[in-house]
């Protein structure tokens, strides 16, 4: 058992589950999407990304790429949230919520790819 693999697997799966938790619910209803959940997704995804730093394998490079995509999407989502709430008059409107949630949906797709790759790698390693 490789502890590095366990830790990374834990974080990437956690990122996916949290991401899913934030994503489900009515698209434009702010009450269905919790800020704490988005925060947790962001942090866990960041950790997963950093864990893949300096990994010279092919799989490591691809996983780093997918994690970076997820982080980018989540940053965009938080930015939209922050700007919408604090820099404009309207506050958290349904339109804003919908775009935040769709951005996090993109991040979730990237995380799904990461987890799929992880599963493939595990299966290949089993021989």
């Amino acid at each position: 058992m490789n502890p590095e693999k366990v830790v990374f697997g834990f974080f990437i799966v956690l990122a996916l589950t949290l991401n899913f938790g934030f994503f489900v619910g009515e698209m434009d209803n702010p009450a269905h999407h919790n800020a704490y959940e988005l925060f947790a997704v962001l942090i866990v995804n960041l950790i997963a990304t950093v864990l893949k730093f300096g990994d010279r394998t092919q799989m490591g490079a691809v996983l780093l790429a997918t994690s970076l995509v997820a982080v980018l999407q989540l940053f965009a989502a938080t930015l939209v949230w922050g700007v919408g709430v604090y820099a404009t008059e309207g506050g958290l409107t349904p339109e804003l919520t919908a775009s935040i949630v769709s951005l996090s949906g993109g991040a979730m797709l990237a995380n799904v790819v990461s987890v799929t790759l992880l599963v493939i790698e595990t299966v290949l390693l089993r021989r």
Binding site: I47, F53, G54, G82
Partner: protein, 575 residues
């Protein structure tokens, strides 16, 4: 590049994780702890404000408690967060600084910079492996002659020496094992402009490996190897190493030549010497009498063998004959530095002394002692270290032989003007008298400094005008291109040493020889003659003037006038 980025990332993984986690905990805590707004209503900090606050808190900028004054609970949390985040930052920055001091990291950076510099080279260069005594002499003499050089050396001290050397141009150097193909590739082995490789490390095995690597990865390159044993030599020859140089044999041959044919010896000294070196006087070692050879190591053996072949009487002085072996004629045990040993060796009847041990101090001491015993002794002194130059100079030995320099000059000739090597080989068949006549011709040309030696091939690139003229049916002769382009009655200060046409080489070709496309010529003479000759070689008008004495009409009208025959007597050559 990859290595460096991966190294940074790998090292920064831990600190970044610590930083992310501390930030996350601090932000989360701030959003969870209840606070109060200005009116005393319960209020909770949101993520935006929490992130803003932690950002300036952790970097200890400290804008104060915003948007509302903190409650005691919040302050307790902030106190904890300050210490946690500041420590995390110190840890991250510390790691980054440590990395920048890491020798492995620094080496990776220099190696990368070196590889980049080599890739960007736009002029032909030579790759020298090993910057020892011979390597440094070779680099100096190559740079002196305007060649570019790249060095691979394994020892840091020698690299430092190279950096301190007052060379005229920058010599890129890589610290690494030249036996590893990776390092050779980084040093530009496969670079299209790499012109040759000289393997001069101390180890035969490494030299062998360099030769094999070169012949496998870049077949066309000239490889010159140093080899100490005939065994390794045969091995190197087997896969096509171009030139193999045995320092001991080379030294022996050189010395033998000085005895056998002083004129030829001087000729080779002048033609292969470093540029701007003053002309040396000819020396005539006495042949009838006993020669004392101090030292019977590998050099001593080579010298002994050559001198015996020459038919000279020799006495060998050696301190440890049980290690080095004994020559047929017996040996006088001793270092040769004390009067007793030299007297035993028969210094009273000797005509010459060869101080040939591998220790400069012993050699000097032997010479001094021998001179006090017999003042008119002919002295041959072997110099081992360049740094002892002043000492060696002050002894005024009749012949000073610096093996490293001899080899370096030889390699430089092989790399830069390989025709000179052939010329000197052919010159040996011509005899000493012939050499002396040539020497006097050279003296008449250059008077004080050694002549410049250069090659010329008659092709479109190097001699456009001559090449075109030959193609158009006229036959310029050697004497034509030697005319002064400013006044054709004068001859340029140069001597054609050799003409190579297909497989045949002619030594000292006649000026009346007609030139053919593809001819290769070896010249010696003044540098300015070389520059002026360029006119004849490249400029059609200059060549035509040199050939016929007529300035060709170049404009349309003048050509028309000429064609009409308005200037009778002109030899209208049309271009």
């Amino acid at each position: 590049m990859d290595t460096i980025i991966f190294m940074i990332f790998r090292r920064m993984r831990q600190p970044l994780l610590v930083l992310i986690v501390t930030y996350a905990v601090a932000i989360l805590g701030l959003t969870l702890i209840p606070g109060q707004d200005a009116q005393g209503n319960p209020w909770r900090m949101d993520f935006f404000h929490a992130f803003y606050f932690v950002s300036y808190m952790s970097t200890t900028i400290g804008f104060g408690e915003i948007p509302y004054e903190f409650t005691d609970g919040q302050r307790m949390w902030v106190t904890f967060s300050i210490y946690a985040t500041v420590v995390a930052w110190v840890y991250s920055i510390g790691t980054l600084l440590t990395l920048s001091q890491d020798s492995l990291f620094l080496h990776a950076v220099t190696e990368r910079r070196f590889a980049y510099r080599i890739r960007r080279l736009r002029e032909p260069f030579y790759l020298v492996c090993g910057y020892g005594e011979t390597g440094s002499e070779l680099v100096a003499t190559l740079v002196e002659r305007n060649y570019h050089v790249v060095v691979v050396e394994i020892l840091q001290e020698r690299m430092n020496v190279l950096r301190l050397e007052p060379l005229r141009e920058y010599v890129p150097a890589l610290r690494g094992d030249a036996g590893r193909p990776l390092h050779l590739l980084e040093a530009g082995l496969r670079h299209p402009l790499c012109a040759g490789v000289a393997a001069l490390t101390n180890s035969n095995d490494v030299n062998l490996k360099i030769a094999i690597t070169t012949k496998l990865l870049h077949r066309e390159l000239t490889v010159i190897c140093r080899a100490d044993s005939h065994d390794v030599e045969a091995n190197m020859r087997s896969f096509g190493t171009d030139y193999i140089i045995d320092p001991f044999d080379t030294f022996g041959i050189h010395l033998a030549m000085a005895f056998q044919a002083p004129g030829l010896y001087l000729l080779s000294e002048w033609l292969s010497g470093a540029s701007h070196q003053p002309l040396t006087e000819p020396v005539y070692p006495p042949r009838d009498g006993v020669w004392i050879i101090c030292g019977y190591g590998r050099f001593g053996k080579a010298v002994y063998q050559r001198l015996s072949e020459e038919g000279l009487k020799t006495v060998v002085v050696e301190a440890t004959p049980d290690k080095t072996g004994t020559p047929e004629g017996g040996v006088v045990v001793g270092r040769g530095t004390e009067a007793g040993t030299l007297q035993e060796a028969g210094i009273a009847h000797a005509v010459g002394l060869i101080a040939g041990t591998d220790d400069d101090v012993n050699n000097l001491s032997a010479v001094m002692t021998a001179r006090t015993l017999k003042s008119d002794l002919f002295v041959v002194l072997r110099q081992n270290q360049s740094e002892n130059q002043t000492l060696i100079d002050s002894v005024h030995a009749d012949i000073v032989m610096h093996p490293s320099r001899i080899i370096a000059n030889r390699i430089r000739v092989l790399l830069g003007t390989p025709m000179l090597y052939d010329f000197l080989r052919l010159a040996q068949f011509e005899g000493d008298e012939w050499a002396c006549i040539l020497l006097s011709r050279i003296v008449a040309l250059v008077s004080d400094e050694v002549p410049d030696v250069w090659e010329l091939s008659i092709d479109d690139e190097a001699a456009h005008a001559v090449w075109t003229a030959i193609r158009e049916g006229s036959s310029p002769i050697l004497g034509d291109i030697m005319r002064d382009p400013r006044d054709r009655r004068q001859t340029l200060e140069c001597i054609p040493l050799m003409l190579a046409r297909q497989r045949r080489s002619v030594v000292l070709p006649e000026p009346a020889t007609a030139l053919k496309a593809g001819d290769r010529l070896l010249w010696c003479g003044r540098y300015r003659a070389r520059r002026r000759m360029e006119w004849n070689l490249q400029n059609e008008h200059a060549l035509s003037y040199a050939m016929t004495g007529e300035a060709v009409a170049s404009g349309l009208i003048w050509r028309w006038i000429k064609a009409r025959g308005l200037r009778p007597g002109s030899v209208g050559r049309r271009f």
